[in-house]
């Protein structure tokens, strides 16, 4: 049964004077705060913290976590996020004392094993990318985008070129234009054609000698392989620019197509999507980047080097943009990625992608009669279906369907992204789901479409909170407990 008391806001569980731990009396001389800290360094008042016992805290957060849906508890076809099951083996390996208890200030000689692991990971990621140089430092995919764009900027600066623009298609992840802006570029949007590919005419019109980078997600957020990738790469290169691959959808092409072979000069990986890093929680994450050889000297320093005998951190990189993360990035996530890649091997990774694509196409073919897929009958690892038909006929929106799915014990697909498709539902089953799960999910969707519209408008009916007031949350966000 749900413990509604423990689920109250933790401030409401607070009782004056209640403590989680009792500390012994201080054995150092007492000094008043105003004697040791100047006024400007002191807060006006004590922070407003809840006063609760340890048991209250544990019960509160455990009960909240039980309201959650996760890959360990539910099918989670959240398109664009690749919510596949992450083998527990990789968690166990990353938690071995030899991994976990290392300190970044240890001497290189005393952690050769870890350096070897990271060096080999650099090589594996370079091989999968078809690009020569890798930095493991960035702490997230978007951080990888930023680091790569900074690397590109350093490259152009070194060549005496001043390029101000970064282009991305309108179906791109919002992080692409955001990274461009943070890196000091002007973000320019390139249109997509109605069937979801980059509009070559529009790209041509917007490419010029000010264009530094064209950022493309391939396979795209619509779950399609960009059929014009070769002409696009040629156009970008002819304009003197670089092609960046947003590697969000690498799960669809591992061991099948290498970004470097289809013209990309730079890319990032999302290990949490592709290589069993943990999802969500705000980190720590990793977003390794791979670049073509000519860009290698500008990558963040240090990188792991090997002279045939010893592994070492190479700081002697005069053209490097410098550090983008303390120490060596989030090594725990990188260890998981290493274990994942080593477990599957080259052939196995290819099978991962084949099964991801197969599962998505299976689900597409089951659902397209009720939820048309504007971009066609075939997809890569995910597809974007539309609920606009059922919206027009019965007033049931993609949001209603998504919310109702929670009652059926399925996490919802991504809805209303990409915005180029109306009433979109972006579905990514991933390779780790069985045919039985996919059938059950399709069955739930069919049943939902036959339910009364009023029931769906009010869904979900089985969750602790039904529909939050999203407008109010966006307009008047309350991010701290009002005293």
């Amino acid at each position: 049964m749900r413990n509604t008391r423990a689920l109250s806001p933790i401030f409401e569980l607070s009782a004056p004077g209640r403590r989680g731990a009792t500390l012994p009396p201080s054995d150092v001389p007492y000094a008043a705060l105003d004697e040791i800290l100047p006024a400007e360094a002191r807060a006006d008042a004590l922070p407003d913290l809840p006063e609760v016992a340890e048991g209250d805290v544990v019960r509160h957060y455990t009960c909240i976590s039980q309201l959650n849906m996760s890959v360990d508890t539910h099918f989670y076809p959240l398109g664009s996020c690749t919510m596949k099951y992450n083998p527990k083996r990789n968690e166990r390996l990353a938690s071995l004392p030899g991994m976990l208890d290392l300190h970044p200030y240890q001497s290189e000689a005393s952690h050769q094993g870890m350096l070897q692991l990271l060096f080999e990971l650099q090589q594996m990621l370079a091989e999968i990318a078809g690009l020569e140089a890798v930095s493991l430092q960035p702490a997230a995919g978007a951080h990888g985008e930023l680091a790569a764009l900074m690397t590109a900027a350093a490259y152009f600066r070194d060549r005496g070129e001043h390029r101000t623009k970064v282009l991305a298609p309108d179906s791109a992840h919002g992080t692409n234009p955001a990274s461009a802006a943070v890196a000091g570029f002007d973000a320019v949007t390139v249109r997509s054609t109605p069937d979801g590919y980059v509009d070559l005419e529009d790209l041509k019109a917007k490419l010029d000698d000010q264009s530094a980078v064209f950022m493309i997600t391939n396979p795209s957020t619509l779950g399609m392989f960009e059929r014009n990738i070769k002409p696009i790469a040629d156009m970008v290169h002819a304009a003197g620019g670089l092609l960046y691959l947003d590697g969000a959808n690498m799960n669809a092409i591992l061991g099948i197509a290498r970004p470097g072979d289809f013209g990309a000069d730079m890319m990032h990986y999302n290990p949490h999507k592709t290589f069993s890093g943990p999802h969500g929680g705000g980190g720590p994450g990793a977003g390794p980047i791979a670049v073509r050889g000519m860009l290698g000297p500008y990558l963040p320093a240090p990188v792991v080097a090997f002279d045939g005998v010893r592994y070492r951190l190479d700081y002697d990189r005069p053209k490097s943009i410098g550090r983008v993360r303390s120490f060596f990035g989030n090594v725990g996530v990188l260890v998981r990625a290493y274990c994942y890649i080593r477990t599957y091997g080259g052939k196995g990774l290819r099978e991962v992608s084949e099964n991801a694509v197969l599962n998505a196409n299976y689900l597409l073919s089951k659902l397209k009669h009720i939820f048309p897929v504007p971009q066609g009958d075939r997809c890569m690892h995910e597809f974007v279906a539309t609920a606009s038909k059922i919206k027009a006929e019965r007033g049931i929106s993609a949001m209603d369907i998504a919310k109702r799915l929670l009652d059926y014990g399925f996490h919802a697909p991504t809805v209303y992204f990409p915005i180029t498709v109306k009433e979109s539902m972006m579905i990514e089953p991933t390779e780790t789901e069985s045919k039985e799960t996919l059938d059950a999910f399709a069955e739930a969707l069919f049943r939902i479409t036959e339910e009364p519209a009023d029931l769906l408008h009010e869904a979900p009916h089985s969750t602790g909170i039904s529909r939050p007031d999203e407008v109010k949350a966006a307009r008047q966000p309350q991010t701290s407990w009002p005293k």
């Binding site: 038909k389 999203e470 407008v471």
Partner: protein
């Protein structure tokens, strides 16, 4: 104003041009506002800003997405009808957003632009053609 008196952009802005003052009034179509669902905020440019055809001069935020608002004409922004942004009075923003949603072709107007080049007006769509485009987008 009724929509058949207006011209439309493919990107869902409507335009009403007054030849006497050479001023275009611009807003967002009912179709676009409907597709955006619940609106949160609209950000508009400062008066005096010069805009070109197709240039993004503002943003509309809904619970679904933040979308650019593109200028249908080239010229100078001479007047705007912004959304009040006073944290102490959230009702004022709510009222203005409701106005934009419920009366898109009247009080829902967003900016007035002193048109520099009337040529671009010719390439805007009639209401009938715009509706045809929207019908195609639905599928």
């Amino acid at each position: 104003m009724t929509p058949d008196q207006l011209k439309f952009s493919k990107t869902h802005e409507w335009t009403h041009f007054d030849p006497a003052t050479k001023t275009a009034t611009v807003g967002l179509s009912a179709f676009a506002l409907e597709a955006l669902t619940d609106l949160v905020y609209v950000e508009l440019p400062n008066v005096g800003r010069k805009v070109s055809v197709g240039e993004s001069f503002g943003e509309i935020e809904s619970v679904k997405a933040v979308s650019d608002i593109y200028s249908p004409v080239a010229g100078e922004i001479v007047e705007t009808y912004p959304v009040p942004n006073d944290p102490k009075d959230p009702k004022a923003a709510e009222k203005r957003m409701a106005q934009i949603k419920n009366d898109p072709y009247g009080e829902g107007w967003l900016v007035k632009i002193k048109v520099a080049d009337e040529g671009a007006l010719g390439s805007l769509l009639s209401y009938a053609d715009y509706q045809k485009q929207c019908a195609e987008e639905q599928h």
